[in-house]
Symmetry: C2
Subunit: 162 residues, 2 copies
């Protein structure tokens, strides 16, 4: 079971997460011959600033704040980068929160399951074989042919349980 739950929920050197994510993203884009432009990279870094999902307008605000001299970043700019990053599988959209989060293992074929902490917002991604097959099995009983899945679990992360 692929997961980033350790990092997502516990104290760690997050700069390394960002560096690693950026590195993976660059490799992947090089490989696919698509362009990780400065703006796209900035959006990507903004999303990766934490393990908490960020809404599109939060990204707009963060990027405007981070710019110097302060320059208003506008929604279409951000939405276009989001679209690109989603297409490349570098980020995911959390439907239940209407927000975005970095993918910890882009490129790897995986089935997304998200564990969202209701308290602190920290969100881990898992790729759980068994869950995928349980979905398959459930669908089969209804003669339903699965193409994609949205699985978002809300609860308390280990840190917020105590």
């Amino acid at each position: 079971m692929l997961t980033n739950s350790r990092l997502a929920y516990h104290h760690h050197d997050h700069k390394r997460c960002i560096t690693a994510a950026l590195h993976r993203a660059r490799l992947l884009c090089d490989d696919r011959q698509v362009r990780l432009t400065p703006i796209r990279e900035a959006v990507f870094k903004t999303i990766w600033a934490s393990h908490r999902p960020l809404g599109a307008y939060d990204i707009v605000d963060q990027m405007t704040l981070a710019s110097s001299p302060v320059k208003r970043i506008l929604p279409p700019t951000v939405y276009r980068s989001i679209e690109f990053l989603l297409e490349q599988g570098l980020i995911h959209r959390l439907a239940s929160l209407n927000a975005y989060i970095g993918c910890p293992f882009p490129g790897n074929d995986h089935n997304d399951v998200f564990l969202i902490c209701r308290q602190c917002g920290a969100t881990a991604e898992c790729s759980a074989e068994q869950l995928t097959s349980a979905v398959e099995q459930t669908a089969r009983r209804a003669n339903f042919n699965v193409e994609s899945q949205v699985i978002e679990i809300v609860g308390l992360c280990p840190e917020c349980q105590s």
Copy 2:
């Protein structure tokens, strides 16, 4: 496994679905001493008009059309009824579509899993024990305490596979 997949995907006398749903809703509201007012009932019936999820503004439009003499139903009215119906578990919100669908077994304790046909939109609800326990198991590995889940499967219903 509780499911309404037969009805959701195949031809049937849908009036009976509506009548039955309304009947259940009335019983349940009587029982809980909450009021299924005419507006709430109208919203409920509008949502139950099909087995396809309906967006809030679709409901606004449908209700405005259905009114005679034509009287503009406004968003807050609909949103308030939606809120009530969600609280009572009479309808569900599909996060991935940002739309609403009637619950086929309100009152019964169940874990929602939705099977959404990408072709025709028909959506069935299942309450699958095994899926719930797979979720639990996946979460446990991350020491995550589950409180609620959003599971929405997209694919092709039996009718749209041929």
